[in-house]
């Protein structure tokens, strides 16, 4: 197994998600999810290969440290985005449904819809 290529591939897939996370469309994030799943699968495979000794560890420390940093960036972006939308959801929920007796915003409901693109 080529560990170098595997880590680079994971970084590319992670970069795609990082870009998607700063775009104002949830669709972009959804479309990048399969690549992120592939990245997880690649890392699992790498873990198994290292554990079985079929892959040489070589000098991967630098690349793996860079990957860890990029995972951290994506993690923070995701967390930031989630907090932002949660805040917005609370504002929107109060605009639409007011507050419940506990003083919290009313649950946010959205009518279901089907979107067809293309």
């Amino acid at each position: 197994m080529n560990m170098q290529a595997s880590v680079e591939g994971t970084r590319r897939q992670l970069d795609r998600m990082r870009v998607a996370l700063v775009l104002p469309f949830p669709r972009e994030i959804e479309e990048a999810l399969p690549e992120l799943e592939q990245a997880v699968a690649s890392m699992r495979e790498l873990e198994r290969a290292l554990a079985s000794g079929t892959a040489p560890a070589g000098s991967m420390a630098v690349d793996l440290a860079a990957l860890a940093r990029e995972v951290g960036v994506v993690e923070r972006l995701t967390e930031g985005g989630r907090e932002l939308t949660n805040g917005w959801a609370a504002i929107l929920a109060t605009a639409a449904g007011g507050y419940v007796s506990s003083g919290k915003p009313a649950p946010l409901n959205a009518a279901s819809s089907i979107r067809i693109d293309g």
């Binding site: 994971t10 970084r11 590319r12 992670l14 970069d15 998600m17 990082r18 870009v19 996370l21 700063v22 775009l23 104002p24 469309f25 949830p26 669709r27 994030i29 959804e30 999810l33 992120l36 799943e37 990245a39 997880v40 890392m43 699992r44 790498l46 873990e47 290292l50 554990a51 560890a57 070589g58 991967m60 420390a61 793996l64 440290a65 990957l67 860890a68 995972v71 951290g72 994506v74 993690e75 995701t78 967390e79 985005g81 989630r82 932002l84 939308t85 949660n86 917005w88 959801a89 504002i91 929107l92 929920a93 605009a95 639409a96 946010l108 409901n109 959205a110 009518a111 819809s113």
Partner: protein
């Protein structure tokens, strides 16, 4: 993968776009109930992706896309015009109704009945002083009732005149407001995408449609050119042209800023001003003419019949019972002369001291004196016409209100801010972040494990 700088620039640019998209959601939610506001959406433009040329792709914010529909706005304005006219007409005519009592218990019908009863009483005792005075008293009451009826219409006409002044003033205020907004559109090249200005402009145009029928042509900068009645300039660019009301002639006129009479373009053509002009120039004068005809026909018939008889002394009457000024209106000026009771000609010349002429006057009650109708019938027809006009106006008001509600609903469904739609966008984001979060946590854990293994 692009260079670090390209990647950073991409992220920074995308974050700005992201910020703008959220601002649009914020504006939509904040202005969900702002008059004239329509839902906005942020369009995005793909940037060229060519790493070799240093172009890292990504997106940039494009134009704001407004959900405004000129067709639906026009439908609402047209219905607002029609409802404004119907409401005004119903309101004006409602002022008249109390003066037309058609039950016969009071007002002119009651006074007519009392008059003919007094003449019948005179025919029973033609030389009785009290009966003679009773006819004069009943005549005075009847004349007063006609006066009050005409006065009521005149008072309504005066109120309509005040309302015409107010409507013209409101139209001029709104025209100035629209011109002011147009000036802001012209002052800033980005203003054509300003949802707030757009909302103000459309709210003002919608208010204007309540007052007057107009044609609005949109200019490329986002402003409007407005023609009252379809022809008279009201707003051209940033300049408003004031209308004026002219009460110098019997027919109320509305003039454009050049002094040209534009009444024909506005009257009965929608909006409160159209209805007010119709009421002032057609409806009320029509009622006055009919009332004058009834009053004059009645007074002439009674005076004529009296002139054929002789008074208690056997002499032809020297003065009429009723008098009026036809030029000022018979109903408004009808009164009883200073005729003395003994000068009422109750007898015929052939039988002095008898009741022949009193009976003939009493029979006038059943004779077709006014266009083939008795006096009471003719007055009843007029009262009935007023009642039908009011009922028609009220029905029209109800119908137009329903149609306006429908137009509002159609527009709100197509262009209004849907909090549900905004909520759906946020829920999509929340779900996407949740999915990413789980995968990234797993990836982070795996990466740490692998790092530990290669150490």
């Amino acid at each position: 993968m692009g260079s670090l700088l390209t990647s950073l620039l991409n992220s920074a640019g995308a974050l700005r776009v992201y910020d703008r998209a959220f601002n649009v959601i914020e504006n939509n939610v904040t202005n969900a109930n702002t008059p004239g506001y329509v839902s906005q959406d942020q369009s995005l433009v793909a940037m060229t992706f060519n790493p070799a040329a240093g172009l890292g792709g990504g997106v940039m914010a494009g134009d704001l896309i407004s959900a405004r529909s000129a067709y639906l706005d026009q439908a609402v304005r047209s219905q607002t015009e029609l409802l404004g006219g119907a409401q005004q007409q119903a309101s004006d005519l409602a002022q008249i109704q109390p003066f037309f009592d058609t039950t016969g218990a009071s007002g002119v019908p009651g006074a007519l009945t009392a008059f003919f009863n007094s003449v019948s009483q005179l025919s029973v005792n033609p030389n009785d002083e009290v009966s003679r005075q009773g006819v004069i008293d009943a005549s005075q009451t009847l004349a007063q009732r006609f006066n009050q009826n005409a006065g009521g219409i005149q008072k309504t006409a005066a109120n309509v005149g005040i309302e015409i002044r107010n409507a013209v003033s409101s139209i001029n205020d709104l025209a100035a407001q629209i011109a002011g907004i147009d000036e802001q559109f012209r002052a800033s090249p980005d203003a054509s995408h300003n949802a707030g200005l757009d909302a103000q402009l459309n709210a003002a145009l919608e208010q204007l449609s309540q007052f007057v029928h107009y044609t609005a042509l949109k200019s490329p900068d986002g402003g409007f050119t407005v023609f009252a009645g379809g022809q008279a300039p009201l707003v051209i660019g940033a300049q408003a042209y004031a209308l004026s009301a002219d009460f110098s002639a019997p027919q109320t006129a509305v003039r454009d800023s050049q002094g040209k009479d534009i009444t024909a373009q506005l009257q009965n053509n929608g909006g409160t001003l159209g209805a007010l002009l119709q009421t002032a120039n057609v409806t009320l004068p029509g009622y006055v003419t009919s009332l004058n005809t009834v009053a004059q026909s009645f007074a002439d018939a009674v005076n004529n019949q009296l002139s054929l008889g002789v008074d208690r002394n056997g002499n032809p009457p020297a003065v009429n019972l009723f008098q009026y000024n036809a030029a000022l209106g018979a109903a408004a000026t009808l009164s009883v002369t200073n005729i003395a009771p003994d000068r009422i000609a109750a007898a015929t010349a052939a039988a002095p001291g008898g009741n022949g002429n009193a009976l003939a006057i009493a029979q006038l009650a059943t004779q077709p004196l006014v266009n083939g109708f008795t006096v009471t019938q003719a007055y009843g027809n007029l009262g009935g016409q007023v009642g039908r006009d009011i009922a028609d106006a009220q029905q029209e008001q109800t119908a137009q209100q329903n149609l306006l509600d429908q137009a509002h609903q159609q527009r709100a469904a197509a262009t209004g801010v849907s909090l549900n739609a905004e909520a759906a966008k946020l829920l999509e984001f929340q779900q996407a972040y949740q999915a990413v979060g789980k995968l990234v946590t797993t990836l982070d854990s795996l990466t740490q494990t692998v790092i530990d293994m290669v150490k």
